[in-house]
Symmetry: C2
Subunit: 338 residues, 2 copies
């Protein structure tokens, strides 16, 4: 709990106990900021919070942004200089478990935080998603591409929810109510991912580490582009802190596209797993290809990912190994060298 008498400026991170949110909070604290984290703990990992809660410049408030924001937030509206909105379940099984709540988190929740930004004059950043492009027909995806989203399908609660959240953000910008920034985040991986959230990196790494059969959806020829989380956090902070007007969404992700099978090869090499691979049917509306065009981020923010997959994946395997209590081949190698 922060000192309520203090006049320090604050950064609000909604969804700050989630995977990217917790990494963002840690980096902001590292840079000397004072951070208030809102999270409903719907999909966040308690261990993410444990890494944060001891910090003297960190405060956690359990709250769901679909509900009116807590009194302790509203009374400090004028002290927030930055509001990051990362709040929303982000993996298909989790956001589909309660589609109404997913939609309201994106629309009602984002709107509450935008109103808070307006009230206190904070700069606002929405983490949108590559899912706004749906199953894209253009590669790589540029920000001007309008996407190929089914608004009636089972993924729509997230995809359309995020599109609607972007709409709200740009309406606040257009009408002068708040200075907003919108990041479209592509696949990201790294420490503090949820082992059980059904995303491809966590699935493959955790299955490989635990010796379970490895599940690949479809034939594994669908592509993704994986960005290491420290690169993503750096991009988010650069986007938020850029003093040039942005006025449009910015893709953040790693343009190094690979098939799920290629990713699997890396994971097998790093973990030394001998587990069998089972191919299951592709989920409905699963995108076949996805790769960001990051020219806009490069030009406006001077940003590009720096961590190579080999390095990021080794760190991720090591972290999951700790979490799951197993030792990966990469760690054994490191230990043998040490």
């Amino acid at each position: 709990m922060l000192d309520p008498q203090s006049k320090d400026q604050l950064i609000l991170v909604a969804g700050g106990a989630g995977f990217i949110g917790a990494n963002l909070c840690l980096e902001l604290l590292e840079r000397g900021e004072t951070v208030v984290c809102l999270d409903n703990l719907q999909t966040a990992r308690p261990s993410n919070l444990r890494d944060l809660e001891g910090h003297p410049r960190f405060e956690f408030i359990r709250a769901d942004i679909t509900e009116p924001l807590p009194e302790t937030v509203m009374t400090r509206a004028g002290r927030f200089k930055r509001i990051y909105n990362l709040a929303c379940a982000a993996s298909p099984p989790l956001y589909q478990a309660d589609p109404e709540h997913t939609m309201l988190t994106c629309v009602v929740g984002t709107n509450r935080l935008l109103r808070l930004a307006e009230q206190g004059g904070a700069r606002f950043l929405l983490t949108s998603t590559s899912e706004v492009y749906g199953d894209p027909e253009h590669h790589p995806q540029r920000e001007g591409y309008r996407g190929n989203v089914s608004c009636t399908g089972p993924r729509a609660c997230y995809d359309e929810g995020k599109r609607a959240a972007e709409t709200l953000a740009f309406d606040y910008l257009r009408t002068g109510r708040a200075d907003v920034r919108v990041a479209r985040i592509f696949n990201t991986y790294g420490p503090r991912m949820d082992p059980d959230d059904g995303r491809v990196v966590s699935n493959l790494v955790c299955q490989a580490l635990s010796g379970r059969d490895i599940t690949v959806y479809g034939d594994g020829s669908q592509t993704r582009s994986f960005c290491y989380v420290t690169d993503m956090v750096d991009g988010l902070i650069r986007l938020m802190e850029s003093d040039t007007a942005i006025g449009m969404p910015v893709n953040l992700g790693n343009p190094n596209e690979m098939t799920v099978n290629e990713l699997l090869t890396h994971v097998v090499a790093l973990t030394g797993t001998v587990a069998a691979v089972t191919n299951l049917p592709l989920p409905q509306d699963d995108p076949r290809r996805r790769r960001p065009d990051i020219a806009r981020a490069a030009e406006l923010l001077g940003w590009e990912p720096r961590v190579p997959l080999s390095e990021g994946l080794a760190a991720t395997c090591a972290w999951f190994g700790d979490e799951l209590g197993v030792v990966s081949k990469a760690e054994r190698r490191v230990a043998a060298r040490g």
Copy 2:
């Protein structure tokens, strides 16, 4: 005010004082139904309500569906057998005047009515829009086409709002919470349109009747397909009352595509106007072409439009003439014949 002791089943029409809503209420009353109309009167015409309020089976409640539904609605939840949601400003200048409210009407408002349908077991119909196709790249538009909508532009509050409302509706259907129907309404015209709402038929007819200069956006080569309102109301009721499962959105509109200049020729002939035509720039994201594929409605509902443009436009001119207190050439012809 209806008898509160009655056990009659009711039909709720949200947005029932608007253009299509008032025509729908009148038709439902004509068919012997008891109708409760919710409207915030944001864009509705008071004269529409005057046509309805004398009816013994009609009740008007002024309410905004972005707010909690009134007690008098919630206490009768079990008596609503049908809920039509037509509530939302529908013309660009009106829905852009308060984009936040437009988005919340679509998302929060639709969700409140869906919850009401779930609670009382009512069947629910959402009036969505051809705007979910954005500026379409496929012609005519089939329901499976995913559209070309800018989610960050000035029209997005409506287009993305309606897409998100469809998402909610189909999520309620998929999870067994309510039986929902979704109509994607294309351009509609007829009596009870708002003369000032900025839509092309009302603009041209009212300017022609009042002798003002006639405004055409762009060069007038963009196309629209105009459905007369009695046809539209018939389609909505058929969609609502169909006892076969629908499970997907259904286009309702007239596939008779014409340019705005062709429409203007009809209006000039009917009104005998000699006013000058001024061409103004096309608004941002204005669709160049739009024509519904109505094969699904024909197959599932046995529906197609029946009123030819000449007939519908004459009736519309006559009605606007009454409203504006002027007499059109068509009416003069009718009077001369009579």
